[in-house]
Amino acid sequence: METYQIYNLTSAVLFVIGIGGVFAARHFIRKIIATIIMGGGVFLSFVSFAERDALTFADPVPHALVITGIVVAVASAAFALALARRIYQLTGEESFTNDK
Amino acid sequence: METTSILPLLILISSLIPGTLIMLLREDQVPLRTFLNLLGAVAKVGLVGWVFAGYMRGEEYSFIFNLALDLTFALRVDQLGLFFAALSSVLWLVTTLYAIGYLEGGQHRRRFFAFFSFCVTASTGIALSGNVVTFFIFYEFLTLSTYPLVVHRGTDKAVEAGRTYLWYTIGGGTVLFLGVVGLFVTAGPIYFGQTEIIEGLISTHSTQLTILFFIMLTGLAVKAAIFPLHGWLPVSMVAPAPVSALLHAVAVVKAGAFGIVRLVYDVYGIRIADQMNLLTPLAIFAAFTIVYGSVRALFQDDFKKRLAFSTVSQLSYIALGVAIVGFLSTTGAVVHLVHQGIMKITMFFAAGNIAETYGYSKISQLNGIGRRMPLTMGAFTIAVFGMIGLPPVAGFVSKWYLGLGAVEAGSYWVVLVLLASSALNAAYFLPIVYRAWFCEPDQEAVPLLSSGRLETKALLLIPVVVTGLLSLAAGVFAAVAGSPLSIAREIAEKLYMP
């Protein structure tokens, strides 16, 4: 089995873990972390595709994409954390109440 | 197809623009509003007359605007449409006068008159629409523009009535929508009168066409108040008198009836409809409705309720006439469009006058009212005789043709239905007349509005007298060229031309 396939599988697993976490986890922070894990999986797969075929050098495009992606992901994660914190300050809630 | 002309559009605009302007006016700008109203009304009558004259000279008027793909908005002038347009425009003029008098000093008059104009725009639009789609557009527009009129009083009762009214009409509209799209898909964009299209499809698509016919019929039957779907009509009696007059005499119910006429004669064509025997169910339902409405009317003590149920029964004459194949019954049906209109509007005017002048809304209160309001009740009495089908009032003419048509078509049970209906009509209308003229008033009532020497406000009195005389004249001068009957005959002749 080739290396990038291992990467691939790992990324898939990470993605599934992440998405499962988003839906299953209760606490805000857990959910946010879950999204970050998802992101990790996705970026990993991107990177893995960088040396897909027998190129002499790595395909630059995925790196560019991944960097952009990470920036975006970080931004949104930070925003999410800020929101969670604000909610906690306002109400002391740490998880979604089921109704509404 | 024909040379396009702006005139049909103008006919619509003549009431659309005043309506919009009135919307923008202030509540207290009464003279300007009244002026706009009357201007629009008169202009509409004039335009219709003009177009009529042109049509008689053999000119073609049509206005076609392509909306999207093959979805076209088409206004076309044909005899049937003009017939209906003339009815609504004339009665609109009269009713506008009446409404001005009736609502004097009332609430939200701006809103009322605005939507009143829209309502008439819709019904003339229905009259002049050249294809099924356009008809549907105005059919729905009518529903919307009448709703504020139904709930105009703003009481909880009125609002509830409005709710029922909407559920029925919107439901009917949705069903009709289904049918119309279905027809559009099966037969393409059908212009009224292009019966050959269906004729061509009949061999291949007969099942679809049958189903579609009944779907559309159901949609139209709601507004035409045919039996299981009539529930909204008596309820919406809470509306002010001019509204119920217009609703029940011209705009809404006639839209349904007119739609049925169009569907049978101008979309499917009477021959096809007969071949596929689509008409028998219609006939049966109509006949049942005639009897049912009359029986229900017997038990109503509320004046307007009784009138409403009588409308339910009278309207089905049209459907019945359509359902019977034959020149005479067609004539009867078409002419009843107009005759029922003028007679019924007279009755509602009369009811309104009494309610407005003495505050009576129950029949049991009407003892000796004839002595106090001779002109109003005189007109009412004329209309009553018309409804029973006694000459020389308009109703006799329609009934005469319907009956002859039924005999001609050999369906004698229809004659029995007509007789039963006449008897029932007499049974629930003559007591009113009897009370009015031959009973002593039990208590000395004082008029609510002092009106000098007249029995009530002139603006309330003139319309009822005019329509009363109209319904008399329509009968007495039935044979004169240009009378409703003569036009109806021409329409029927065109339909049955080989």
Binding site: I19, P60, F79 | T174
Partner: protein
Amino acid sequence: MTDLPTSPFPAFLVGLPVLLATLSLFFRARGKAVVGLAGSLLTGVMALFALFEVTRRGTVIHILGGWEPPLGILLRMDPLAAVFIGMTAVVGIFISLYAWRYFRAQEATTGGFPLFWPLWLFLWAGLNGLFLSNDLFNLFVTLEVIGISAVALAVLSGKKTALVAGLRYLLVAITGSMAYLFGVALIYGSTGTLDLGLLGQVLEPGTTTTFALLVITLGLMIKMAGFPFHFWLPPAHSSALAPVSALLSALVVKGAFYILLRLWMEVFGVSLTYAAGQLIGLAGAIAVIWGSWQAFMQTSLKLIVAHSSVAQLGYLLMIFPLLILAPGVTADSADWLSPAWTAGVYQVIAHAFAKASFFLSAGIIIMALGHDRIESLRDLVGHMRITALAIAIAGVSLIGLPPSGGFMAKWMLLKGIFLSGQWWWAPVVLTGSLLTAGYVFMLLRLAFAPAREKEAFRPVPRSLEVCALVLALGSFLIVLPADNLIQFLQSGEVFGTGIESIMEGGAHGND
């Protein structure tokens, strides 16, 4: 691809809002508002010019900084994009005007939310970028920009409910875009390109493609609140400020739909199957019924409107089964494609106008009453007749009564349904409009009903009411140019490639 005429407009459409937004950040509160309003007006006008440009010259492209793809970015403005951009512009302008007046009126109490303006401009830039961008990754970036600025707008009021709803919204958005990005990764892995046009040709059916399609579809479904994933929309939309709710439900959700449409029609044609289309349609159908029913059951105005958004988006999903042909049907014989397309586009535009107007009216009512419980709408007609009229007109368009844009959409949808013989969707459409009528007329009924206790209707600026009314009227006026609009859309390649891929998809389908 590069043989298409180039034009600077696409760059402006994205760059200008960003620039102005950044600029506005340097000003104080009032300054932000001024710059923001000016900026949005400018952008709007620009967008309309761009639309005009496209109608004149057909599809135009712009290559940012002369860097060719794949590393560089190519903005492509075809008729479909142009139409969406134009719609965004018109709706956006009126919402901006409204917002300006709305916040001014509340400045004393709330400080007038100056941050609205930069965020809104970012959002707009994101939307334009989304409509314009021509490769999968840019779509992702724009999605993120939209998502984040949308959430930021949603929580602008700082209220607790808004924050919770916002967080929920944000998490969903991230999940959705991550799923989408995963799909993008898979595709890039299998093909090595991200260009939509190219992908349409080179993509081959296979497990990777299927998985990519799956995750992308699901991600976008989540973002556009397709049926099982609509759970985040009503709270988020109903708890935001009035102009924001208008933006969110009128424009933002349409972005995800736009991508879904493009990808399914242009890229994934090869691996689509008829059955898959039916599934999406089913989701849409359920959304229509469920959303309308929920809206019918709500007791507060904004919740009604929000739930109705769910239903209206369901109609959008319902065109997919029509666009994907059964095996053995060729695009030439499928005469229902153009009705279906028209239905989709008209549903988008009409819903944008109507829903925006609806939310703006809701805002007016909240401003006048302090809350939006519907039983206190009694005698609305007496107090605020313009707003009542706006609600009525917008509602009529939502129901789909003629001659509104909604009617055009429903007509075309039904026509497509009948033509394609998939009659089983028809009852859904009709039930949907009946239920819609149910809640719209429930509002009107109350509006006409006599006032029980004297509700204090505080006076509201007339201009707000006018904005709402104009948007409502817009949802009717869009019917007039319908014919030209459809021809315009048909002139673009989007149909061509779309139908080509559909044909192939149909051919390979169900194997």
